[in-house]
């Protein structure tokens, strides 16, 4: 369990993170999503007891990271960004070293167990410098797992891996999420969407949105335009759709006709389908424009920019963000 309350970190005048609040539950993978420099690493460093916050509170595995740092460090497994390892040691030697520092009994056996878990036992006696990037990453994960921690914090574990290794690592994280609290940072949105039960979006040091990928999507999908393709003259179809009370406006796009709903709460698709079928036309396609985390992220981050003109879409987004802020206050 990780509970973060109004956490801030300032470097002189510059705020690295501001009033960050979120919670990560056991048995779930929480994705910490944001562009580079958004404050992900800073937050994670505070949560692992590497550095103290300027203000705010964070409880990790039942202990305060500031007042009870040693207890937190005993219960957290941490994989820092760029996976720092001692290159001159063998994989098994390194893990044994970490086990010894942590005071684990039977360090050698633990080291072998975690190496097996990350599927690296055949290379146990290779020097870390001779291992591939993906293997090193797995040694880093093994290091974070060696004491079977309650909480796992992984800072961009998939960065720099080839697609195959990325898939392997995602699988591993998903499996680990079943019996640990996993906080996992990434700037790749599809990744968060695939493996996370909960997503926390951070940008410029502030939490922009949080929730399950599905919830975030459905929240944004309401009010999204719908696209339809009809076997009929384009201008007649356009006139028909535009005239519907459920549709605010309609236009022609590359996909067909794009219609914006008048009321974001109400899906215009049933009305459109009925109207088209009443005219006896064939309805080839009718769908809501799919929302990916990519869209959510771009909109959430984009609306934060001061130059953004208020538009219909931005309003719904502003609504979303207000809700978000209220829930944190």
């Amino acid at each position: 369990m990780i509970e973060v309350e109004r956490l801030s970190k300032r470097y002189g005048e510059v705020s690295a993170i501001r009033d960050v609040s979120f919670a990560a539950r056991p048995g779930e993978v929480t994705g910490f999503l944001g562009p580079n420099g958004a404050g992900k690493t800073t937050t994670m460093r505070i949560l692992t007891g590497f550095m103290p916050p300027s203000s705010g509170r964070a409880i990790v595995a039942g202990h305060d990271v500031f007042t009870d740092s040693m207890e937190v460090r005993r219960r957290v497994g941490y994989l820092p960004e760029n996976v720092p390892l001692y290159r001159d040691m063998t994989a098994i030697g390194y893990l044994k070293f970490i086990a010894d520092i942590r005071g684990l009994r039977d360090g050698k056996r633990r080291a072998r167990e975690v190496l097996e878990r990350v599927d690296l036992l055949p290379r146990a006696n290779s020097r870390i410098r001779t291992l591939s990037k993906g293997m090193r990453q797995r040694v880093g994960v093994a290091q974070a797992l060696i004491h079977d921690p309650e909480v796992l914090i992984l800072d961009e574990p998939t960065i720099g891996l080839d697609p195959f290794q990325v898939l392997e690592l995602r699988d591993l994280v998903r499996v680990l999420g079943r019996d640990h609290t996993v906080l996992f940072s990434t700037h790749i949105l599809s990744e968060a969407e695939q493996i996370c039960d909960q997503v926390v979006i951070i940008d410029r040091g502030q939490i922009m949105a949080q929730g399950s990928p599905q919830a975030l999507r459905s929240e944004l999908e309401s009010g999204r335009p719908v696209v339809l393709r009809v076997e009929a003259p384009l201008d007649e179809a356009l006139a028909l759709v535009s005239a519907l009370p459920e549709v605010e406006r309609a236009g022609i796009s590359a996909d067909g006709i794009t219609a914006t709903p008048a009321n974001p709460e109400q899906d215009p698709r049933p009305a459109i389908a009925r109207a088209v079928l009443e005219r006896g036309w064939a309805l080839n396609e009718l769908r809501s424009v799919a929302v990916t985390l990519e869209d959510i992220f771009l909109e959430v981050a984009g609306s934060h920019a001061p130059s953004e003109e208020p538009s219909g879409e931005a309003e719904t987004l502003a609504d979303l963000m207000e809700e978000d802020e209220v829930s944190h206050a």
Partner: protein
């Protein structure tokens, strides 16, 4: 305790695997051997005139302590600078151990390697005892003193490894610091010659390394104050190093 031991073991293994450590041992023994050879030749020449010269039991420890301004920075420059640059310090600092544990572990490993060097240099005492009668008491004082002296010097040079991420810079600054402390006696003589109060001169001399070694321990004179001086320097330097590493949490 287990974490100090784990760090100590890792660092010591690293010394005995690194070519630098062997190069230092080789260069030291070569240098001492050449000088020893000259020393024997001199003794032989004196003998041909019918007068012997006494075997200096402190031969190797004296030279070793002098050379420490070169050796110590080479041994300690890596200890913290490399961890900091490679980012492995972040892992250590998020493990459940206090900074002082891994700093003590690293220091003890450097000191243990130095102890091995010192034991190697015992070979000259053994040779001396074959051809002459070196004073065993002087040898005991000189070797024991050189051991403490080395610990103090290693602890001081290690501070610089915590200050900078650049090993070369750490080595240079360490070397300069030790040279200054080594030459404090000369500075003290100069200050005394300026006619100012002898208190300042005494203070500077007592601050230096040589005042606590060359005229006392190296002559077989064991004074409590010298032993206390070296132990205090070790503890003080380790304390400063710990504090410097701790500040990384706030600077990071």
């Amino acid at each position: 305790m287990h974490s100090i031991l784990a760090v100590f073991r890792r660092e010591l293994a690293l010394y005995f695997r690194s070519p630098v450590a062997y190069a230092i041992a080789f260069a030291l023994l070569l240098f001492l051997g050449v000088l020893f050879n000259g020393f024997i030749a001199q003794a032989n020449a004196a003998l041909s005139f019918g007068s012997g010269i006494p075997a200096d039991a402190g031969f190797a420890p004296n030279l070793l302590t002098f050379l420490m301004f070169l050796i110590a920075p080479l041994l300690t420059m890596r200890l913290l600078a490399e961890e900091s640059r490679e980012g492995t310090l972040e892992v250590l600092m998020t493990l459940p151990l206090h900074e002082s544990s891994f700093i003590i572990g690293k220091f003890l490993a450097a000191w243990a390697y130095y102890t091995a060097l010192l034991l190697l240099s015992l070979v000259f005492y053994v040779l001396q005892s074959f051809i002459g009668v070196p004073d065993a008491g002087v040898a005991l004082g000189a070797y024991g003193g050189a051991w403490l002296y080395g610990g103090a010097v290693l602890a001081i040079t290690m501070i610089w490894s915590a200050v900078t991420e650049d090993q070369i810079v750490a080595a240079f600054l360490g070397s300069a610091t030790i040279l200054v402390l080594y030459l404090a006696e000369i500075a003290a003589i100069w200050i005394a010659g300026q006619g100012s109060s002898s208190l300042v001169a005494d203070f500077v001399r007592e601050l230096g390394l040589q005042a606590h070694f060359s005229v006392t321990l190296a002559q077989g004179i064991v004074r409590a104050e010298d032993v206390v001086y070296f132990i205090c320097v070790i503890i003080g330097a380790l304390f400063i190093t710990t504090r410097l590493v701790e500040t990384r949490r706030w600077r990071a």
